[in-house]
Symmetry: C2
Amino acid sequence: MDVAATLSTAGTSPGFLHRVTIDLGERSYAIDIGAEVLGDPGTWAGLPRAATAAIVTNDVVAPLYLSRLRSALAPHFPRVLDIVLPDGEAHKDWPTLNRIFDALLTHACDRKTVLFALGGGVIGDMTGFAAACYQRGVPFVQVPTTLLAQVDSSVGGKTAINHPLGKNMIGAFYQPLRVVCDLATLATLPAREFSAGLAEVIKYGPIADPAFLDWVEDRMEALRAREPSALAYAVRRSCEIKAAVVGQDERESGLRAILNFGHTFGHAIEAGLGYGAWLHGEAVGCGMVMAATLSQRLGRVSADYVQRLTRLIAAAGLPTRAPRLADDNAARYLALMRVDKKAEAGAIRFIVVDEQGHAELCPVPDAVVAEVIDACCV
Amino acid sequence: MDVAATLSTAGTSPGFLHRVTIDLGERSYAIDIGAEVLGDPGTWAGLPRAATAAIVTNDVVAPLYLSRLRSALAPHFPRVLDIVLPDGEAHKDWPTLNRIFDALLTHACDRKTVLFALGGGVIGDMTGFAAACYQRGVPFVQVPTTLLAQVDSSVGGKTAINHPLGKNMIGAFYQPLRVVCDLATLATLPAREFSAGLAEVIKYGPIADPAFLDWVEDRMEALRAREPSALAYAVRRSCEIKAAVVGQDERESGLRAILNFGHTFGHAIEAGLGYGAWLHGEAVGCGMVMAATLSQRLGRVSADYVQRLTRLIAAAGLPTRAPRLADDNAARYLALMRVDKKAEAGAIRFIVVDEQGHAELCPVPDAVVAEVIDACCV
């Protein structure tokens, strides 16, 4: 399926307060993109009435934005609670998720309570999953404060926690009421996390839009300098592509898997090193080099294309050489990838790309994968 | 809304291998009712292809039916796993749920894996919730082996685990592929559990079908003697009523709450005594006496009706006097009920009935509820 063909062709000028709509029937919602919008009470008009809003955030984001969001929500909700979790992928687990349930139940929150996920991908995934499960489902709003969350994880309704035996293995497809991307929050993002977010921006070019790949290459310096117009377009275009894909395949029965380009290798890196050692975006950056190398072995892209993508990933400040995970390194990678959610009947499947912006899910023989691992590891 | 009017009017003759369909658009499914069907490979034809079937059951049901179900599934699935959990409501918690995830991940089960819930309400609720969450959703089949599960909990897609601060507080609406009620399994059910199931059978009369209430009264002796034709009709009519209600309101935005007649009081009893002290059906039986008494205080039913229902609940072998939970007994009940999922903005809401088979959700002042508690407690 040609995703690019289904995209709107709105020009490349940055649009403050741009709205991207994700079309999922009665579960459709808006992704609102703007600067300094999080602290504006007007941003939060039109949400369902409820006795309580509960902001879920972490101890790094809370000092920066919590009081601003709380004040902006106060005119709309009689009670605004906050639930501050420890920061980091290492805490994306059941005990931490349960702190959300404990807080909601201790405060007798009913099933109209609206949860707000204020933070990066981990907060968004956990808050979304908590919303999916609390009293069998309460509404929630994504307020992503990292680049990765704004361009990828907050959009599309994938929620989850990790299990010791696999990343994001316990979760739900559960859509938010709304996503609000405040570009101003990106100014406070540490460089390493910003680069991690660029991995997901880069991803959209190879899988769906060669012109966007060109644009990202041209504007990488402006992006890393966090130039507002560059950020605005990167977030908007990423959300447009993601919305087009998710709108066609909400529950990943097919097409949606292309958004996992680089992720099968990336998940193995994250699990193999222990969650949190590499950031998710770092693992995905490196994983895209591996997936491009695999695409080349399968005759779908040239060596030049692999080099071009590798240079771009390096220019984003991301690792391009994969870590060794064990003495029997390829076997370890393969074992970790066999629990990937795309695996079926024991066969690992990979997203491979061509140079025209098409991607597809492919089972690949272990021997070919092992060669790629050997070629890409330090 | 008049549920009875939407029901099919198929006569009262027992139908072996009767099929009740629950109409939920693309999530529609069949409830198949028969005797000795669980061990027949033909019963399991037509399910989706998958590499693995995983039977989740408990240590009481496993010795009775696990090997029979495993043999019947073997022609359909290359691999049949079993996951045997400890029995009882006290284990309807996260650590036990996680044993399902551990087993599925240890055996590298992919997201086409079909889970089979073989057991009562606890197994059905936990297996359904595990299916809702594992890799963000895998298909599952309900194989209820208790009366309570056959007439109520296996139908309609409510899944959950308990939280120390409230029953069924963490869960999902997630529909099975199919429900298979094998009436033969009811022969091995302990008397106390059988009576608990009768509470949910009794429930359908007051909320939707006065003629069914008459029938249950007439046939209570035959039911308790587990006469096959009486069982077949009780299961079938209960499923028909439940299917009609759920088909109109899958996610309990309104009508579906009527299925909770007696449950608000019942949940307080269960939580107040500690989960597992009373069976769920016992608490619901006693809760219906309380809810009927409340309906009388509100002028909706006569004292005769309350007595009639009380006698029927007693005849089913269920408690009709509520336990004292604390020195400040009514306050304790009220505090426990305030976390009920039907509560909204701190107001507890109750299902009240009239004598014509209509039920509705009503907020009730605490003082009135406290009087009912005082009147109904030992």
